[in-house]
Protein backbone atom coordinates (compact mmCIF):
# COMPACT_ATOMS: atom_id res chain seq x y z
CA UNK A 1 0.00 0.00 0.00
CA UNK A 2 1.57 3.23 -1.17
CA UNK A 3 -0.19 6.18 0.34
CA UNK A 4 1.51 9.54 0.35
CA UNK A 5 1.27 11.30 3.66
CA UNK A 6 0.63 14.70 2.12
CA UNK A 7 -1.08 14.23 -1.21
CA UNK A 8 -1.39 17.34 -3.34
CA UNK A 9 -5.02 18.31 -3.80
CA UNK A 10 -5.82 19.82 -7.18
CA UNK A 11 -9.06 20.80 -8.86
CA UNK A 12 -9.43 20.22 -12.57
CA UNK A 13 -12.41 20.92 -14.74
CA UNK A 14 -13.86 22.86 -17.59
CA UNK A 15 -15.25 26.36 -17.46
CA UNK A 16 -17.64 27.84 -19.94
CA UNK A 17 -19.69 26.29 -22.63
CA UNK A 18 -17.49 23.92 -24.58
CA UNK A 19 -18.02 20.23 -24.04
CA UNK A 20 -14.65 18.85 -25.07
CA UNK A 21 -13.46 17.02 -22.01
CA UNK A 22 -11.16 14.39 -23.48
CA UNK A 23 -8.04 16.38 -22.70
CA UNK A 24 -8.93 17.36 -19.15
CA UNK A 25 -9.89 13.79 -18.30
CA UNK A 26 -6.46 12.63 -19.42
CA UNK A 27 -4.86 15.34 -17.30
CA UNK A 28 -7.00 14.31 -14.31
CA UNK A 29 -5.89 10.76 -14.69
CA UNK A 30 -2.21 11.67 -15.09
CA UNK A 31 -2.34 13.71 -11.89
CA UNK A 32 -4.12 10.86 -10.12
CA UNK A 33 -1.48 8.42 -11.27
CA UNK A 34 1.17 10.81 -9.96
CA UNK A 35 -0.33 10.36 -6.49
CA UNK A 36 -2.49 13.48 -6.30
CA UNK A 37 -6.04 13.85 -5.06
CA UNK A 38 -7.87 15.23 -8.05
CA UNK A 39 -11.21 16.93 -7.53
CA UNK A 40 -12.79 16.55 -10.92
CA UNK A 41 -15.70 18.94 -11.45
CA UNK A 42 -16.59 18.04 -15.01
CA UNK A 43 -18.10 20.25 -17.66
CA UNK A 44 -19.69 23.66 -17.89
CA UNK A 45 -18.49 25.19 -14.67
CA UNK A 46 -18.87 28.87 -14.01
CA UNK A 47 -15.92 30.73 -12.49
CA UNK A 48 -18.01 31.15 -9.34
CA UNK A 49 -18.52 27.38 -9.05
CA UNK A 50 -14.84 26.72 -9.60
CA UNK A 51 -13.73 29.16 -6.95
CA UNK A 52 -16.29 28.01 -4.36
CA UNK A 53 -15.26 24.42 -4.95
CA UNK A 54 -11.56 25.20 -4.75
CA UNK A 55 -12.01 26.89 -1.39
CA UNK A 56 -14.19 24.16 0.11
CA UNK A 57 -11.75 21.52 -1.10
CA UNK A 58 -8.69 23.48 0.05
CA UNK A 59 -6.77 22.73 -3.13
CA UNK A 60 -3.29 23.89 -3.95
CA UNK A 61 -4.07 24.51 -7.60
CA UNK A 62 -6.86 24.86 -10.14
CA UNK A 63 -6.36 23.51 -13.64
CA UNK A 64 -8.87 24.63 -16.25
CA UNK A 65 -9.35 23.53 -19.80
CA UNK A 66 -10.87 26.01 -22.21
CA UNK A 67 -11.42 25.27 -25.88
CA UNK A 68 -14.22 27.72 -26.48
CA UNK A 69 -12.21 30.86 -27.12
CA UNK A 70 -13.47 32.50 -23.95
CA UNK A 71 -10.18 31.96 -22.10
CA UNK A 72 -9.31 35.64 -21.72
CA UNK A 73 -12.50 36.31 -19.81
CA UNK A 74 -12.78 33.04 -17.89
CA UNK A 75 -9.25 32.82 -16.48
CA UNK A 76 -9.30 36.45 -15.42
CA UNK A 77 -12.66 36.04 -13.73
CA UNK A 78 -11.43 33.01 -11.76
CA UNK A 79 -8.35 34.92 -10.60
CA UNK A 80 -10.48 37.91 -9.66
CA UNK A 81 -12.87 35.80 -7.58
CA UNK A 82 -10.04 33.98 -5.84
CA UNK A 83 -8.49 37.27 -4.84
CA UNK A 84 -11.85 38.61 -3.66
CA UNK A 85 -12.26 35.58 -1.41
CA UNK A 86 -8.79 35.90 0.05
CA UNK A 87 -7.68 32.78 -1.77
CA UNK A 88 -5.13 34.30 -4.13
CA UNK A 89 -2.60 31.72 -2.93
CA UNK A 90 -4.34 29.00 -4.95
CA UNK A 91 -2.42 28.64 -8.21
CA UNK A 92 -4.31 28.72 -11.50
CA UNK A 93 -3.07 26.92 -14.60
CA UNK A 94 -4.71 25.93 -17.81
CA UNK A 95 -4.73 24.40 -21.19
CA UNK A 96 -6.74 24.11 -24.34
CA UNK A 97 -6.87 26.15 -27.49
CA UNK A 98 -5.20 29.34 -26.40
CA UNK A 99 -3.53 31.45 -29.12
CA UNK A 100 0.12 32.31 -28.51
CA UNK A 101 -0.60 36.03 -28.51
CA UNK A 102 -3.00 35.67 -25.56
CA UNK A 103 -0.55 33.82 -23.35
CA UNK A 104 1.58 36.76 -22.13
CA UNK A 105 -1.55 38.70 -21.10
CA UNK A 106 -2.98 35.75 -19.18
CA UNK A 107 0.32 35.13 -17.43
CA UNK A 108 0.57 38.79 -16.51
CA UNK A 109 -2.93 38.50 -15.07
CA UNK A 110 -1.74 35.69 -12.81
CA UNK A 111 -2.20 32.41 -14.66
CA UNK A 112 0.84 30.43 -13.59
CA UNK A 113 1.18 28.19 -16.63
CA UNK A 114 -0.61 27.38 -19.86
CA UNK A 115 -0.17 24.04 -21.56
CA UNK A 116 -0.94 24.01 -25.29
CA UNK A 117 -1.99 20.96 -27.30
CA UNK A 118 0.90 18.53 -27.57
CA UNK A 119 2.12 19.07 -24.02
CA UNK A 120 3.54 15.91 -22.47
CA UNK A 121 1.61 14.83 -19.39
CA UNK A 122 4.69 14.72 -17.24
CA UNK A 123 5.26 18.43 -17.84
CA UNK A 124 1.94 19.15 -16.16
CA UNK A 125 2.68 16.72 -13.33
CA UNK A 126 6.07 18.31 -12.70
CA UNK A 127 4.54 21.77 -12.74
CA UNK A 128 1.87 20.92 -10.17
CA UNK A 129 4.31 19.07 -7.95
CA UNK A 130 6.58 22.11 -7.98
CA UNK A 131 3.92 24.49 -6.69
CA UNK A 132 4.53 25.71 -3.17
CA UNK A 133 1.68 26.23 -0.85
Amino acid sequence: MVVATKPIRVLVGKVGLDGHDRGIKLVARALRDAGMEVIYTGLHQTPEQVVNTAIQEDVRAIGLSVLSGAHNHLFRRVLELLKAQGAGDIAVFGGGIIPDEDIPGLKAAGVRALFPPGTAMHEIVIFVKGLQR
Binding site: T41, T53, Q56, E57, D58
Partner: protein, 250 residues
Protein backbone atom coordinates in the same frame (compact mmCIF):
# COMPACT_ATOMS: atom_id res chain seq x y z
CA UNK B 1 1.39 10.22 11.41
CA UNK B 2 2.83 9.55 14.87
CA UNK B 3 0.41 9.61 17.73
CA UNK B 4 2.81 11.35 20.08
CA UNK B 5 2.92 14.50 18.00
CA UNK B 6 -0.84 14.62 18.16
CA UNK B 7 -0.80 14.70 21.90
CA UNK B 8 1.49 17.68 22.04
CA UNK B 9 0.07 20.67 23.85
CA UNK B 10 -1.28 23.44 21.68
CA UNK B 11 1.97 25.39 21.80
CA UNK B 12 2.62 25.45 18.07
CA UNK B 13 -0.91 26.47 17.52
CA UNK B 14 -1.04 30.20 18.01
CA UNK B 15 -4.02 31.90 19.49
CA UNK B 16 -6.76 29.45 18.64
CA UNK B 17 -8.09 31.76 15.95
CA UNK B 18 -8.82 28.88 13.63
CA UNK B 19 -11.44 27.34 15.90
CA UNK B 20 -13.08 30.72 16.40
CA UNK B 21 -13.25 31.23 12.64
CA UNK B 22 -14.76 27.79 12.23
CA UNK B 23 -17.40 28.57 14.84
CA UNK B 24 -18.20 31.75 12.92
CA UNK B 25 -18.78 29.63 9.82
CA UNK B 26 -15.76 30.90 7.86
CA UNK B 27 -15.51 28.56 4.87
CA UNK B 28 -11.75 28.92 4.37
CA UNK B 29 -11.15 28.14 8.02
CA UNK B 30 -13.42 25.10 7.90
CA UNK B 31 -11.69 23.71 4.85
CA UNK B 32 -8.22 24.44 6.28
CA UNK B 33 -9.06 22.65 9.49
CA UNK B 34 -10.27 19.61 7.56
CA UNK B 35 -6.96 19.56 5.69
CA UNK B 36 -5.07 19.73 8.98
CA UNK B 37 -7.16 16.86 10.34
CA UNK B 38 -6.30 14.82 7.28
CA UNK B 39 -2.62 15.53 7.85
CA UNK B 40 -2.96 14.67 11.56
CA UNK B 41 -1.46 18.04 12.34
CA UNK B 42 -1.22 19.07 16.02
CA UNK B 43 -3.02 22.31 15.20
CA UNK B 44 -6.06 20.25 14.26
CA UNK B 45 -6.05 18.48 17.60
CA UNK B 46 -5.92 21.78 19.43
CA UNK B 47 -8.69 23.30 17.33
CA UNK B 48 -10.90 20.25 17.79
CA UNK B 49 -10.41 20.45 21.53
CA UNK B 50 -11.56 24.06 21.39
CA UNK B 51 -14.58 23.13 19.34
CA UNK B 52 -15.56 20.34 21.67
CA UNK B 53 -18.74 21.14 23.50
CA UNK B 54 -19.70 23.84 21.02
CA UNK B 55 -21.36 21.34 18.79
CA UNK B 56 -24.94 21.94 17.89
CA UNK B 57 -27.51 19.32 17.25
CA UNK B 58 -26.94 18.35 13.68
CA UNK B 59 -28.68 15.44 12.06
CA UNK B 60 -25.90 13.25 10.70
CA UNK B 61 -26.97 10.92 7.94
CA UNK B 62 -24.83 8.30 6.23
CA UNK B 63 -25.46 7.42 2.62
CA UNK B 64 -23.79 4.20 1.58
CA UNK B 65 -24.21 1.50 -1.04
CA UNK B 66 -22.83 0.03 -4.21
CA UNK B 67 -20.77 2.06 -6.70
CA UNK B 68 -23.11 3.67 -9.18
CA UNK B 69 -26.25 3.07 -7.12
CA UNK B 70 -26.95 6.80 -7.06
CA UNK B 71 -25.57 7.95 -3.71
CA UNK B 72 -24.26 11.29 -4.93
CA UNK B 73 -27.38 12.06 -6.91
CA UNK B 74 -29.54 11.19 -3.92
CA UNK B 75 -27.44 13.47 -1.72
CA UNK B 76 -27.87 16.28 -4.22
CA UNK B 77 -31.64 15.90 -3.94
CA UNK B 78 -31.59 15.62 -0.16
CA UNK B 79 -29.46 18.76 0.07
CA UNK B 80 -31.88 20.66 -2.14
CA UNK B 81 -34.82 19.55 -0.01
CA UNK B 82 -33.12 20.44 3.26
CA UNK B 83 -32.15 23.83 1.86
CA UNK B 84 -35.82 24.47 1.12
CA UNK B 85 -36.44 23.86 4.81
CA UNK B 86 -33.89 26.58 5.53
CA UNK B 87 -31.30 24.21 6.93
CA UNK B 88 -27.58 24.54 6.34
CA UNK B 89 -26.18 21.39 4.79
CA UNK B 90 -22.69 19.93 5.12
CA UNK B 91 -21.59 17.09 2.88
CA UNK B 92 -18.55 14.82 3.18
CA UNK B 93 -18.08 12.65 0.11
CA UNK B 94 -15.49 9.90 0.34
CA UNK B 95 -13.82 8.26 -2.63
CA UNK B 96 -11.11 5.65 -2.84
CA UNK B 97 -7.40 6.30 -2.77
CA UNK B 98 -5.43 4.20 -5.23
CA UNK B 99 -3.54 1.48 -3.40
CA UNK B 100 -0.98 1.63 -6.20
CA UNK B 101 -0.16 5.32 -6.50
CA UNK B 102 -1.79 7.07 -3.55
CA UNK B 103 -3.74 9.24 -5.96
CA UNK B 104 -7.49 9.59 -6.20
CA UNK B 105 -10.19 10.98 -8.43
CA UNK B 106 -12.77 12.69 -6.26
CA UNK B 107 -15.78 13.02 -8.51
CA UNK B 108 -18.85 12.97 -6.31
CA UNK B 109 -19.34 16.71 -6.63
CA UNK B 110 -20.21 16.34 -10.28
CA UNK B 111 -23.64 15.06 -9.21
CA UNK B 112 -24.06 17.86 -6.71
CA UNK B 113 -23.70 20.87 -8.98
CA UNK B 114 -27.02 22.33 -7.88
CA UNK B 115 -25.33 23.16 -4.60
CA UNK B 116 -22.08 24.65 -5.81
CA UNK B 117 -23.10 28.30 -5.60
CA UNK B 118 -25.22 28.02 -2.47
CA UNK B 119 -23.42 29.46 0.53
CA UNK B 120 -25.64 27.35 2.79
CA UNK B 121 -24.01 24.15 1.53
CA UNK B 122 -20.46 23.02 2.21
CA UNK B 123 -19.13 20.03 0.29
CA UNK B 124 -15.84 18.35 0.99
CA UNK B 125 -14.46 15.47 -1.04
CA UNK B 126 -12.19 13.15 0.87
CA UNK B 127 -9.93 10.29 -0.20
CA UNK B 128 -9.65 7.19 1.95
CA UNK B 129 -5.82 7.44 2.16
CA UNK B 130 -5.49 3.78 2.92
CA UNK B 131 -8.30 3.53 5.46
CA UNK B 132 -10.64 0.59 5.06
CA UNK B 133 -14.29 0.43 5.99
CA UNK B 134 -15.75 2.91 3.50
CA UNK B 135 -14.67 6.16 5.13
CA UNK B 136 -11.43 8.11 5.58
CA UNK B 137 -9.69 8.32 8.93
CA UNK B 138 -10.48 12.05 9.02
CA UNK B 139 -14.20 11.65 8.36
CA UNK B 140 -15.45 11.46 11.92
CA UNK B 141 -13.63 14.57 13.08
CA UNK B 142 -14.68 16.40 9.93
CA UNK B 143 -18.28 15.81 10.97
CA UNK B 144 -17.48 17.43 14.31
CA UNK B 145 -16.06 20.45 12.51
CA UNK B 146 -19.12 20.86 10.31
CA UNK B 147 -21.41 20.52 13.28
CA UNK B 148 -19.46 23.13 15.23
CA UNK B 149 -19.59 25.41 12.20
CA UNK B 150 -23.36 25.39 12.36
CA UNK B 151 -24.45 22.97 9.69
CA UNK B 152 -27.82 21.51 10.68
CA UNK B 153 -27.83 18.49 8.43
CA UNK B 154 -24.66 16.60 7.61
CA UNK B 155 -24.64 14.00 4.86
CA UNK B 156 -21.81 11.49 4.66
CA UNK B 157 -21.25 9.63 1.43
CA UNK B 158 -19.11 6.53 1.73
CA UNK B 159 -17.04 5.06 -1.05
CA UNK B 160 -18.98 2.66 -3.21
CA UNK B 161 -19.07 -0.28 -0.84
CA UNK B 162 -19.40 -4.02 -0.99
CA UNK B 163 -20.79 -6.12 1.81
CA UNK B 164 -18.28 -5.57 4.51
CA UNK B 165 -17.74 -1.81 4.73
CA UNK B 166 -19.95 -0.68 7.55
CA UNK B 167 -17.76 1.91 9.32
CA UNK B 168 -20.32 4.61 8.55
CA UNK B 169 -22.69 3.04 11.05
CA UNK B 170 -20.39 4.16 13.85
CA UNK B 171 -20.28 7.85 12.95
CA UNK B 172 -23.82 8.75 11.92
CA UNK B 173 -27.29 8.63 13.46
CA UNK B 174 -29.08 7.25 10.45
CA UNK B 175 -27.69 4.83 7.90
CA UNK B 176 -29.27 4.88 4.47
CA UNK B 177 -28.16 2.06 2.17
CA UNK B 178 -28.75 2.78 -1.50
CA UNK B 179 -29.23 -0.11 -3.90
CA UNK B 180 -30.33 -0.35 -7.51
CA UNK B 181 -32.73 -2.89 -8.97
CA UNK B 182 -31.53 -5.94 -10.81
CA UNK B 183 -29.01 -7.22 -8.28
CA UNK B 184 -31.36 -9.91 -7.06
CA UNK B 185 -28.87 -12.63 -6.32
CA UNK B 186 -26.60 -10.23 -4.60
CA UNK B 187 -29.38 -9.05 -2.36
CA UNK B 188 -29.25 -12.43 -0.69
CA UNK B 189 -25.51 -12.20 -0.36
CA UNK B 190 -25.76 -8.79 1.20
CA UNK B 191 -27.88 -9.92 4.09
CA UNK B 192 -25.11 -10.62 6.54
CA UNK B 193 -23.15 -7.39 6.03
CA UNK B 194 -24.19 -4.02 4.80
CA UNK B 195 -27.93 -4.45 5.14
CA UNK B 196 -27.61 -5.27 8.81
CA UNK B 197 -26.56 -1.72 9.63
CA UNK B 198 -29.21 -0.09 7.44
CA UNK B 199 -31.97 1.90 9.10
CA UNK B 200 -33.44 2.69 5.73
CA UNK B 201 -32.80 0.97 2.40
CA UNK B 202 -33.40 3.06 -0.69
CA UNK B 203 -34.10 1.26 -3.94
CA UNK B 204 -32.96 3.94 -6.34
CA UNK B 205 -33.55 3.97 -10.10
CA UNK B 206 -37.03 2.86 -9.10
CA UNK B 207 -38.35 3.19 -12.63
CA UNK B 208 -36.17 0.35 -13.84
CA UNK B 209 -37.31 -3.11 -14.59
CA UNK B 210 -37.29 -5.39 -11.52
CA UNK B 211 -37.64 -2.49 -9.08
CA UNK B 212 -40.83 -3.99 -7.66
CA UNK B 213 -39.13 -7.32 -7.05
CA UNK B 214 -36.15 -5.66 -5.40
CA UNK B 215 -38.38 -3.66 -3.05
CA UNK B 216 -40.36 -6.80 -2.20
CA UNK B 217 -37.29 -8.95 -1.59
CA UNK B 218 -35.70 -6.40 0.68
CA UNK B 219 -38.82 -5.67 2.68
CA UNK B 220 -38.46 -8.95 4.54
CA UNK B 221 -34.95 -8.20 5.69
CA UNK B 222 -34.61 -4.53 6.56
CA UNK B 223 -36.56 -2.09 8.73
CA UNK B 224 -37.77 0.16 5.92
CA UNK B 225 -37.57 0.23 2.14
CA UNK B 226 -38.17 3.37 0.12
CA UNK B 227 -38.22 3.57 -3.63
CA UNK B 228 -36.69 6.63 -5.27
CA UNK B 229 -35.81 7.97 -8.68
CA UNK B 230 -33.10 10.34 -7.53
CA UNK B 231 -32.53 11.91 -10.93
CA UNK B 232 -36.14 13.09 -10.98
CA UNK B 233 -36.41 13.79 -7.27
CA UNK B 234 -39.09 11.13 -6.76
CA UNK B 235 -39.33 9.56 -3.31
CA UNK B 236 -37.12 12.19 -1.69
CA UNK B 237 -39.89 13.67 0.47
CA UNK B 238 -40.75 10.20 1.74
CA UNK B 239 -37.10 9.52 2.54
CA UNK B 240 -36.80 12.76 4.48
CA UNK B 241 -39.91 11.93 6.48
CA UNK B 242 -38.44 8.53 7.31
CA UNK B 243 -35.13 10.07 8.39
CA UNK B 244 -36.95 12.57 10.59
CA UNK B 245 -38.85 9.76 12.27
CA UNK B 246 -35.57 8.29 13.48
CA UNK B 247 -34.53 9.04 17.04
CA UNK B 248 -31.51 11.32 17.23
CA UNK B 249 -29.00 9.70 19.49
CA UNK B 250 -25.31 10.34 19.31
Amino acid sequence: MSGSSLRKKGDAVGDGALAEQVKAGDVRAISRLITLIELEDPEATAALKQLDGTRGHAAVIGITGYPGAGKSTLINQLATAYRRQGKKVGIVAVDTTSPLTGGAILGDRIRMQDQSCDTGVFIRSMATRGQRGGLARATRQTLEVLEAAGYNVILVETVGVGQNEVEVAFVVQTVVVVVAPGLGDEVQAMKAGLLEVAHIVVVNKGDRENADATVRDLADWVPLVIRTIALKGEGIAELITAIEARPCIR
